[in-house]
């Protein structure tokens, strides 16, 4: 496995980055501002592993992400089906979806906090609004991009409209939605974490603020990288689920 040039290049690149990080943090930046990997690793256990309050905040964040994601998928598919079910609906309503997609949603963050308060509901709401749009877009696309050959076969074989929806359009739609679920997860993460960082009393945003204010970059980075690892794990999970449900696509 290590013989493949791609893997070797990756290892070299990542090693180079780590070394650069270590040197920069040690010699260029003041220790109050930036921490090298060595200090971050050392700080991980006392900051994240041991402290039950930080661990609790991480779990809360995870639950918020999952809640927002599931909500976005359910509502997104429902809305997508409602919009895409016929041509007229699609042409009329889809432009609104695209309009919303292009807006920098972060400007609504203070408003969302005002509406939903400081706790988890506002974070779930903000994650939801970020993730629901790609799900809708993918659902609508999935209803359109059915291979006309399959529709022709169904029609020729005497299928009713209900049967066509159930056996031809719906499975195709599910497959397309699954390819969009990874993007949906990425955006859920973005929304929830943005909201957390903006204002939180007990959540991870609270601790990032605290570590920043008390100039503890090692602790801050330890927390941040733990969250990043969680994000990677969640993305991988979605990818695994996706490949399990689209097994019929693989040769």
């Amino acid at each position: 496995m290590f013989a493949k040039p791609e893997v070797r290049i990756r290892i070299v690149a990542l090693a180079g980055l780590l070394i650069a990080w270590e040197l920069c943090a040690r010699f260029i930046f003041a220790p109050a501002l930036f921490a090298p990997p060595s200090r971050v690793v050392a700080a991980w256990w006392p900051t994240v592993g041991q402290d039950p309050k930080v661990a609790h905040a991480l779990i809360v964040a995870l639950l918020e992400i999952l809640a927002a994601f599931v909500l976005a998928v359910v509502v997104g598919i429902a809305a997508g089906v409602a919009i895409g079910i016929n041509n007229f609906g699609r042409i009329t309503l889809f432009p609104f979806v695209l309009l919303l997609w292009g807006l920098p949603q972060v400007v609504f963050l203070p408003l969302v906090i005002l509406i939903f308060g400081i706790g988890p509901p506002s974070r779930i709401a903000f994650g939801f609004t970020h993730a629901v749009l790609p799900v809708i877009v993918n659902t609508v696309a999935g209803m359109r991009n059915v291979n006309p050959l399959y529709l022709e076969h169904a029609r020729a074989t005497g299928a009713s409209r209900m049967q066509i929806l159930r056996h031809v359009i719906f499975p195709n739609m599910v497959a397309t939605v699954f390819t969009g679920l990874r993007l949906a997860m990425t955006l859920t993460l973005l929304g929830v974490i943005l909201a957390e960082l903006f204002v939180s009393t007990n959540g991870i945003g609270n601790y990032t603020q605290m570590f920043a204010d008390t100039f503890k970059p090692a602790s801050l980075l330890a927390l941040v990288l733990t969250l990043a690892a969680m994000a990677v794990a969640l993305n991988e999970l979605v990818r695994l689920v996706e490949s399990r449900f689209t097994r019929w696509r693989q040769g």
């Binding site: 930036f34 007229f88 400007v107 005002l114 943005l194 903006f198 941040v224």
Partner: protein, 251 residues
């Protein structure tokens, strides 16, 4: 789609917009929702009118504008450079493209507190943040653009004796340009959104900061006014960039 369908579709769209505003007015008249969350439409209009043209307005807009501009310039420079350097080589692309898109899937906003510690609350932290975020779509699209250029054309040009510069100009560029332009457009809006996000999270100046501040002070009408300003700017920028992209395509 018949002409009648098209007209009906646009009519319904106008109806949706009209219903939206009518509902806004009705809800605020009936005091059904806390005025803190949904100010009356005229109040927002008045705030907007009072705001535009003041020094506060120009200060905020100015800061956001040149922060975005500088951040974007940096992300374009690094994005295109990295994109070309990596995209030219198939080995490098296979090795590094997955890493870059993997990192992009992590919410980079996680590192914003760290950036603020190092660069402070002022514009420089937003410039760094915006530049980093904007880098990814530009680099990824450039890599993708180069990998889709048919090696057959490259070989044929080289066999005719073309120099590297000529190959670049006549084979790479025209084939790769549309995808790169898309990357530049997406990169701009991501850059803009992340500058706004940074200003909202932690800043003393800029439009994002104004929105956050008005939210904090619970001045909903001015907050809505600022949101409208950003939405208007987004629509405008979309039109301008879209036109520019179209012109590049024809060139």
């Amino acid at each position: 789609m018949t002409v009648r369908d098209r007209v009906a579709s646009h009519a319904i769209q106008l109806l949706v917009v009209a219903v939206f505003f009518a509902a806004w007015v009705a809800i605020t008249q009936a005091h059904a929702v806390n005025l803190l969350l949904l100010p009356a439409l005229p109040a927002v209009g008045a705030s907007l009118a009072k705001l535009v043209g003041t020094t506060v307005f120009w200060n905020a807009v100015g800061v956001t504008a040149w922060t975005t501009a500088i951040a974007y310039a940096i992300s374009v420079a690094f994005g295109i450079a990295a994109g070309f350097f990596i995209g030219r080589s198939r080995v490098l692309t296979a090795a590094l493209e997955p890493v870059i898109s993997g990192v992009f899937a992590i919410p980079i906003v996680l590192f914003f507190p760290m950036i603020v510690i190092i660069f402070g609350i002022g514009p420089p932290s937003k410039i760094v943040f915006g530049a980093i975020y904007g880098f990814f779509p530009i680099a990824l699209n450039t890599i993708a653009a180069l990998s889709t250029v048919d090696p057959l054309f490259l070989r044929s040009a080289r066999s005719l004796g073309a120099s590297d510069a000529q190959v670049f100009r006549h084979v790479y560029l025209p084939g790769a340009l549309p995808v790169i332009v898309t990357g530049l457009r997406v990169g701009f809006f991501i850059c803009f959104a992340s500058v706004l996000g940074g200003e909202t999270l932690s800043s003393a100046s800029g439009v994002g900061h104004q929105i956050a501040r008005q939210g904090e002070l619970m001045n909903s009408a001015p907050m809505y006014a600022w949101i409208v300003i950003v939405l208007g700017a987004t629509v405008l920028l979309n039109l301008v960039l879209g036109a520019m992209a179209g012109r590049v395509r024809q060139a």
